[in-house]
Symmetry: C2
Subunit: 424 residues, 2 copies
């Protein structure tokens, strides 16, 4: 029975994959104006079909309440007029962004007269597997379309009806505006076998982007034979150097830890140089505690911060996503770098310093997707980096690290302009 389902799912994904591949060929050469018209048509469709979207969404909300989902989870699922208009607004913001496809870079002339460079081009077919919030259907589908990629979307079963209406409206609107049919396809079943079939469809799908909790990402990484762009933990660190402006250091640490806690770019670890520990630690301890943060420290921290508790080895690895921070005193800048590269998750780190050489060295020495100087870790985000929109934050080292926008949904091909040259 399972085998039969798996086979049916493989057949279904093969059909969807072929349709996506065909659409991707047309998308690769689609003029920017047509892609933007498609985005506008999608936004208009969301606006004019608000009642229909709400009605489909209500089925998901009722199901979620019936299945006993938490109030927060049900709330994330809900689409009211305000949220539908926000989704439409996000699509319109994409229209204003530059189209990365076809951009030509680094062209140089060779001694034989050949002009050789790179052209940004779409990846092809992008598979996106996500959970819960139905606005990902709109965001991810639209980002793929604008970057010239066909999308195969697989949303969470709890948002099934919402995702289905959104994907249908988007695909119909896009096709009406001149985009190829099949540019945005949704897997129309809640059968879990469909995910397995998607992860096996390497002839038709070029990359898989999972968006969701750790179990989802681990399953996808394990089962996929297609390259996966992962979005894993953020155990982010603030390092306060001996030369730091301590007012800046307090503001940056408090902001990195508390501006929002349940997110991957919140700070989870604080390192302080021994030469300023006596002055800085009591100040930052008080400031964090006033915001309700629990401080887990090494012996030096416990001595200087009343109310702090002892950190265990495990604390240095932890992504709390909560009002907790692990804090440690280091004897040198070098120790801080080694500590971060060893215990950190290679997501986002910041140094607070006035030492120029050290700041520039930190950029090279830290093996993380995002390395900041004198700025909150909370800035490592597509919107804050000016990408306009992001499909996720990659913790991969290859292809794209950190926030991924439209450009990161493209790849570079080599292009050669010749005048009849042949090789001697």
């Amino acid at each position: 029975m399972t085998t039969a389902t798996a086979m049916n799912m493989d057949e279904m994904l093969t059909e969807m994959g072929k349709r996506a591949r065909t659409a991707s060929r047309a998308l690769a050469v689609l003029p920017p104006a047509v892609k933007n018209a498609a985005l506008e048509a999608m936004a208009a469709a969301f606006e004019s079909h608000r009642a229909e979207i709400r009605a489909e969404n209500a089925k998901d909300v009722a199901g979620a309440e019936e299945h006993g989902l938490t109030k927060a989870a049900v709330d994330r699922l809900r689409l009211d007029d305000k949220r539908i208009l926000a989704m439409a607004g996000a699509l319109r913001e994409l229209i204003a962004l530059p189209d990365p496809v076809g951009e030509i870079e680094n062209v140089r002339t060779r001694p034989n007269g050949l002009r050789i460079g790179h052209m940004r081009s779409p990846i092809g077919v992008v598979g996106i597997i996500y959970e819960s919030r139905p606005n990902v259907t709109a965001d991810a589908g639209a980002l793929c379309l604008k970057s010239g990629n066909a999308a195969i979307l697989r949303g969470g079963s709890e948002a099934f009806h919402s995702n289905r209406i959104l994907a249908r409206l988007m695909n119909d609107a896009a096709a009406g505006a001149g985009a190829p049919d099949g540019a945005i396809q949704l897997i129309q079943t809640t059968d879990r076998e469909a995910v397995g079939a998607l992860l096996r469809a390497d002839q038709y799908v070029d990359v898989i982007i999972p968006r969701g909790g750790k179990p989802l990402i681990e399953r996808v990484t394990r089962d996929s034979i297609i390259p996966v762009i992962k979005h894993l933990d953020g155990n982010c660190t603030v390092y306060v150097d001996e030369t730091a402006n301590l007012d800046d250091a307090v503001r940056i640490t408090v902001n990195s830890k508390t501006q929002r806690t349940g997110v991957c770019n919140a700070a989870e670890t604080l390192l302080v140089h021994r030469n300023i520990a006596d002055e800085f630690l009591p100040r930052i301890g008080k400031a964090l505690q006033e915001k309700g943060v629990e401080i887990r420290g090494d012996a030096s921290v416990m001595e200087l911060v009343p109310g702090s508790v002892a950190a265990t080895e495990q604390d240095w690895y932890e992504e709390y996503l909560d009002l907790i921070i692990a804090a440690k005193v280091v004897d040198s800048y070098e120790e801080a770098v080694e500590f971060i590269n060893h215990y950190g998750s290679h997501h986002t780190e910041t140094i607070v310093t006035n030492d120029h050489k050290r700041a520039m060295h930190f950029l090279r020495a830290i093996d993380s997707a995002c390395v900041h100087i004198n700025a909150s870790t909370r800035f490592s985000d597509g919107g804050e980096y000016g990408l306009g929109a992001e499909i996720g934050i990659s913790t991969n080292k290859l292809h794209a690290r950190g926030p991924m926008g439209l450009r990161e949904l493209t790849t570079a091909k080599w292009i050669v302009f010749g005048e009849g040259q042949v090789r001697e």
Copy 2:
């Protein structure tokens, strides 16, 4: 017994991986002058240890002859003084190339004053699995060092003694010049289990680059849990458009097919627009046949080229690596594009045309790593593209497509220059 070996191999690779990871941290911040001094020291070591290298190589050559390897295979293995000096020369050429590490790109200023951009940084630890020719040990190790990566090399068993002496000389010379110990490590066993262990060492190895025949690449792709940069077939196509300069078209086709046949950037397929088929096909048929090329054609080609034979469906997919070409007449430019994207291997294609719009459209529409206009397919090569040296030709879509040089052995991290900014 197999299990015990596998366990020992996993332990061995864990040790090598830890050493490589430590070395990679130092390599990431090593000044260009030190890396270049290391390359010079390696080149000098090859020169001064020629007798020792020849003696070790003689063991491999004797073994290969004993095992009945073909004369060509034994010749590829052999290291005489000329080849040793050529290896040293290749290392010295790397010294002159710009160091990609630490290059800062695309910095823009955000409204809040943050300056945000990208910095090129090493990938980390690169695993390279290759066959036969021992000069790959020198090339691959040196490219990794110059790009700030630690290398774990696994050469073919037939070159075991040669690879071992080369790797030892390189690592010692590099360490003597100030590079970290363990920058270039060779797996010192011919046990096949070691490859499996390398492909499982995802905690310590960031990317695997296989260089060799299809069976090797397929095995690596199947077994690796580490991202693989593949180098697969080249079924390259020359498309002669109706507006082509036919003299150029003859020269480019003959050069693409015959300048060298056993290589992945040789042409295997020829498409000809119907409007010029009557004039062009008899000419190119004669020119190719004079070079000894067998022409396998569709009905139109068979009619216009005496001596051509019928192509089967399989011929359109074939990478002959021989004096054979598949040839077909297409009714339109669009048919040519569709044909190439369907039957080609997405490696290198060229259009011969004088139609500017079509030429520019071809660049976007063809889903291949290298897309040429009016130039031989044989140019898609790191040396010809001006990379100075290449670690391989990627047929991946993510990270790097086509010839990979020093820059393609790096990745980009986000960097942020702040002045105390926090997020509102």
